[in-house]
């Protein structure tokens, strides 16, 4: 172990490091991390086109069994890759900018959740109501990725309008978890998480309103980061709950998450909620050496909130999280139990505020300016009813109903204002932790490992509880991330880190330190257990599995799946 590993053995993948006798040839480009790709692209040992081809081939071969992608644009991806190769070649010429001036994402394949606008492409948000919509402009995230030279392969599956924790609420069929194809990948950014876990892309973009980056990252065994509210511009991203939504990276390690975060962050004139806070370039320089990375833990003060280890938490999840915290303590961190006393009120207040904002945001889908329209009745009210009744799926309708009710005359103070007051208390709980001098909070990301498809589909409250540990972080606007912390029953467990506002860099250094001290853990070398099955064209698709599951089920059981 040491910082010279990568430089000395450039053709070895991270995974090959333990198994091989040293210097084994690089056979699969999809196993590379972004920081490895960046190095090989600069030395000319690999081309962006070769990276794009390898990743496109994996996605095309395995998407049938995973349904992680709603659209893959091979032609556009290869054109972007060729442009990146030209850019890299030009930077190398005498008088060129030099490869050091390139962003590490230059030439690297990325995936985008299908609510990110890419000019000329689809942005369904997982909904029938946006089927056929063609984005007339690039989102700011898209524009910044293009500026960095990233290669966009396509759009990933998601719960409709990002409402859900399993990706089963997509109008285009569920996504399977590569660790167990009968289980959910989490949600709502389930396609983005599964695509990264399956090595179709090293990094992807997701959005997180109550846990939609962190929870699928946890369930798929990868890294997911929700930045501070205001860190990333949301211009050109389909809105769900505007006081909570934030965009962020999914990746296979902390360094890659930091690189993608760096590329898309920062103030944008087109989003008034994007904050004029500098984006640290140190995000590009997280230590490659495990020793250096681990040293960050010395003297760090980490808070363990007792309210996050409660009933409903699987013992295996709590166990892995406590082991992870113990490992950080052994490496020099100081762990103290703290109380976030209003945690129990998070779920109820979130499920007032988020639906209220969603009911307002989704009022725009009226079949006039864009999107699905049913104008068959000749009466404008009846047309709205048909357009929205047909265009939205069951979970979105449920949340619009909740939000409309909570905002309606006579209930506004009782529900919405009350929830906003509770939000103040939840935020104050976290503020007290930062005031006490803690560097980060450590908690589980999800109370459970990946659950079977269908298990929570008929019980909205059970589904909502999936995000009990993540949504308070959105309520407080804080940065949070999930990092892999081992397995329980053969399925990934995520450790959640929460930081003070704008402290993503410290949180990522902590995540990198945890990776360093667990670099030799056996679970680090495991690939998703059922990923190999996705190479088999006879493996059923998630939709076929769903059809088999609901066959013969009681009528009340299938009613929600319209």
């Amino acid at each position: 172990m040491g910082e010279r590993d990568e430089e000395d053995r450039p053709f070895e993948t991270t995974r090959g490091r333990d198994g091989g006798a040293g210097g084994s040839a690089l056979t699969d480009l999809t196993r590379l991390h972004v920081h490895e790709m960046a190095r090989l692209l600069r030395t000319g040992e690999v081309s962006s086109r070769a990276l794009a081809e390898a990743h496109l081939a994996a996605a095309a071969r395995q998407n049938h069994a995973l349904n992680a992608w709603l659209a893959i644009d091979r032609k556009s991806a290869l054109a972007q890759a060729d442009a990146a190769d030209r850019r890299i070649a030009e930077s190398r010429r005498p008088g060129g900018s030099g490869v050091a001036a390139l962003h590490p994402l230059c030439g690297v394949p990325v995936g985008l959740k299908d609510l990110v606008s890419v000019k000329g492409g689809q942005a369904t948000a997982g909904s029938k109501i946006l089927k056929g919509y063609v984005a007339p402009f690039d989102s700011t995230v898209t524009a910044r990725l293009r500026q960095a030279g990233a290669v966009i392969l396509g759009k990933t599956n998601m719960d409709e309008f990002a409402m859900g924790s399993s990706t089963e609420h997509s109008a285009y069929g569920p996504t399977a978890n590569p660790w167990d194809l009968t289980r959910v990948p989490g949600g709502s950014s389930g396609g983005s998480a599964a695509a990264v876990a399956a090595y179709h892309v090293p990094v992807s973009i997701g959005t997180d309103t109550g846990g939609s980056i962190r929870q699928p990252a946890s369930l798929c065994g990868i890294v997911g980061l929700k930045p501070t509210y205001g860190r990333v511009s949301r211009y050109g991203i389909v809105a769900f709950a505007s006081s909570l939504d934030q965009i962020g990276p999914l990746a296979r390690d902390a360094r890659d998450a930091a690189i993608l975060l760096h590329a898309v962050s920062g103030r944008d004139e087109r989003d008034a909620t994007s904050a004029p806070v500098p984006v640290p370039d140190e995000l590009l320089d997280l230590p490659s050496s495990d020793d250096e990375a681990a040293s960050y833990l010395k003297g760090r003060r980490l808070a363990l909130p007792r309210e996050y280890f409660v009933e409903g938490m699987e013992p295996g999840v709590a166990g892995r999280v406590r082991e992870a915290v113990a490992a950080m303590e052994a490496a020099g961190a100081r762990i103290e139990e703290v109380s976030l006393p209003h945690t129990d009120y998070g779920l109820a207040s979130y499920y007032i505020i988020a639906p209220a904002e969603c009911s307002s945001n989704l009022a725009r889908y009226d079949g006039v300016v864009y999107g699905f329209a049913d104008r068959s009745s000749g009466d404008y009210i009846a047309d709205y009813l048909c357009t929205r009744g047909t265009g939205f799926g069951p979970e979105v309708k449920r949340r619009i109903m909740l939000g409309t009710y909570a905002l309606s005359a006579g209930y506004y103070d009782a529900y919405y204002v009350k929830a906003q007051k509770v939000r103040t208390l939840i935020k104050a709980d976290f503020d007290a932790v930062w005031a006490a001098g803690f560097d980060a909070i450590c908690a589980p990301t999800s109370p459970t490992v990946a659950f079977p498809m269908g298990a929570r589909l008929e019980d909205p409250v059970a589904m909502y509880l999936s995000d009990a540990c993540t949504l308070p972080v959105n309520m407080a606007g804080l940065p949070g991330m999930s990092i892999p912390a081992g397995l329980s029953d053969g399925l990934p467990v995520g450790l959640q880190l929460v930081g003070a506002p704008w402290r993503e860099l410290g949180m990522l250094r902590l995540a990198r330190a945890y990776e360093a001290i667990t670099a030799r853990a056996t679970w680090r070398d495991l690939e998703p257990a059922e990923l190999h099955l996705t190479d088999d064209p006879t493996t059923p698709s998630p939709l076929e599995r769903k059809a088999r599951r609901t066959q013969g089920a009681p009528a009340t059981g299938s009613g929600d799946q319209s």
């Binding site: 063609v134 007339p136 402009f137 501070t228 509210y229 205001g230 006081s243 004139e269 008034a272 909620t273 129990d344 009120y345 109820a348 207040s349 499920y351 009022a363 079949g367 006039v368 300016v369 864009y370 999107g371 329209a373 104008r375 404008y380 009210i381 047309d383 709205y384 009813l385 048909c386 929205r388 009744g389 047909t390 939205f392 069951p394 309708k397 449920r398 109903m401 909740l402 409309t404 009710y405 309606s408 009782a414 529900y415 204002v417 009350k418 906003q420 007051k421 509770v422 939000r423 103040t424 208390l425 935020k427 909205p460 409250v461 309520m475 407080a476 606007g477 506002p501 929600d560 319209s562």
Partner: protein, 105 residues
Amino acid sequence: MIPSMANLSRADVEHVAHLARLGLAEAELARLEGQLNHILDQYTILTTLDTEHIPPTAQTIALANILRDDVVQPSLAVDDVLANAPERSGDHFVVPAILGGDGGA
């Protein structure tokens, strides 16, 4: 105050659906009545918290009055904007008629 027992009737559900402009089938209304009441039950925990003197939080970062310079900027071309319109007439969106009558004005 949040009612201690959730009490959305079928008529309430239909009323809210109409406010939200959601055309729901009979089966959906029936299912929603049960599910919404179950969700509203979860809200009752909030009644146990005294928030009388707590100010509400609408957003979490201290930004105010973000204004750009009042300078003309390029915007999308009319054709790009109208390309997704369900119904278009020349350079206009066709909107549903909201006033009755024979269209004479």
